[in-house]
């Protein structure tokens, strides 16, 4: 399941977190992150695996 995390509002994110925390068959896509960026998945069970620059190269995180 691929989820556009940035396209969800805060309530939708809160509703999804319990399900996402207990499963591992999902992929979240977010916009570029910053310390104050609320689009960062706010739960510990998520780990960033890759970032992709459209039209550019790909950066691998792990």
């Amino acid at each position: 399941m691929v989820i556009n995390w940035s396209g969800l509002d805060d309530q939708e994110k809160l509703d999804l977190i319990p399900t996402l925390s207990t499963t591992d068959n999902w992929i979240l896509l977010t916009q570029p992150l910053g310390d104050s960026n609320k689009t960062q998945p706010p739960f510990r069970e998520a780990t960033k695996t890759v970032y992709i620059r459209a039209g550019g190269g790909r950066g691998k995180m792990n």
Binding site: M1, V2, W5, L20, T23, D24, N25, W26, I27, L28, L29, T30, Q31, P32, L33, P41, R44, E45, A46, T47, K48, T49, V50, Y51, I52, R53, A54, G55, R58
Partner: protein, 291 residues
């Protein structure tokens, strides 16, 4: 733009998935895919589109999606019949008379109606169009109480067929429904029709190519030459040119006269501002603003 991809700390992303996501994110096409797959997510997605919410994908009759394409000076039209996965497309002629999206949409509707006529399966049909403009332009032929004329209609030859084909279906007691859906919102039927319209634009099958013998106007703007029959855009271009020319003439005319209204007005304003001896255009701004 950078996109970050997150997975569960307990999960692992296969390289194939990683590559697929990358390709999808890096694709520079602005159009959605037109998948009609039967996987769960595809079915859910389809049922959440505008046509899906209207229940059109469960319609017992035939559903046509139609679209027109107008790009690089060439018009194409296409349709896709969902229940039989049948499609058709062609290029529209008369490109030298100028292109319009409405002409392309009219051609697409005509192709779909012709296909329904050839099929002779007496099924009710729904035709999905993303052009409200097309529906408005054909609406006046459907409603009662109006006297509509083909005279002056730039696409009269296509419109005649569009009026005639549903009329034949009505006489046979067959239902024909046009529905307007929004373009490029992920509706697979709309995307399929869009692809076929693009295909038609590049094809060699050309229809509706007889000239209408309307005068064609051309003008150059920013180095690009445009051609079009008389329409609001041409009128605007003419008005712009006239404005440029006549502004100069009017100014010269007024300036050359000693007792023209501009001078009188200036005199009146100068008296009011106690700035005798100064022509109007030299009145200080501060004095002007005080009047």
């Amino acid at each position: 733009m950078t996109t970050e991809v997150w997975i569960s700390t307990r999960g692992k992303m296969p390289e194939l998935t990683r590559t697929t996501i990358q390709e999808a994110l890096e694709a520079d096409t602005p159009k959605d895919t037109s998948s009609f797959g039967m996987e769960d997510l595809e079915v859910i997605h389809r049922s959440s589109t505008e046509a899906g919410l209207l229940g059109i994908y469960n319609f017992a009759g035939a559903v046509y999606a139609m679209d027109g394409s107008n790009d690089k000076g060439v018009m194409g039209v296409g349709f896709h019949r969902l229940d039989e996965n049948r499609r058709g497309c062609c290029q529209l002629g008369r490109g030298e008379e100028g292109n319009s999206f409405n002409t392309a949409e009219l051609g697409a509707a005509c192709l779909a109606l012709e296909d329904a006529k050839r099929k002779e399966d007496r099924k009710p049909i729904i035709i999905l169009s993303d052009s409200a403009c097309f529906l408005y332009s054909s609406q006046k032929w459907i409603e009662e109480g109006k006297s509509s004329f083909m005279w002056g209609n730039p696409d009269a030859d296509i419109m005649r067929d569009i009026v005639e084909l549903p009329r034949e279906r009505i006489e046979l007691g067959l239902l024909t429904v046009f529905i307007n859906i929004k373009a490029h919102r992920g509706d697979p039927s709309n995307e399929l029709a869009d692809r076929w319209a693009d295909e038609g634009r590049q094809g060699e099958n050309i229809r509706w190519s007889l000239p209408t013998n309307r005068p064609i106007f051309s003008w150059t703007e920013n180095g690009i030459t445009h051609r079009s029959p008389m329409n609001p855009m041409v009128k605007l271009q003419v008005a712009r040119k006239q404005l440029k020319t006549q502004t100069g003439l009017t100014a010269n005319f007024l300036n050359d006269r000693e007792d023209n209204s501009r001078d009188l007005l200036g005199q009146k304003r100068m008296d009011k501002n106690k700035t005798k001896g100064l022509p109007l255009h030299l009145i200080p701004i501060s004095l002007r603003s005080s009047t």
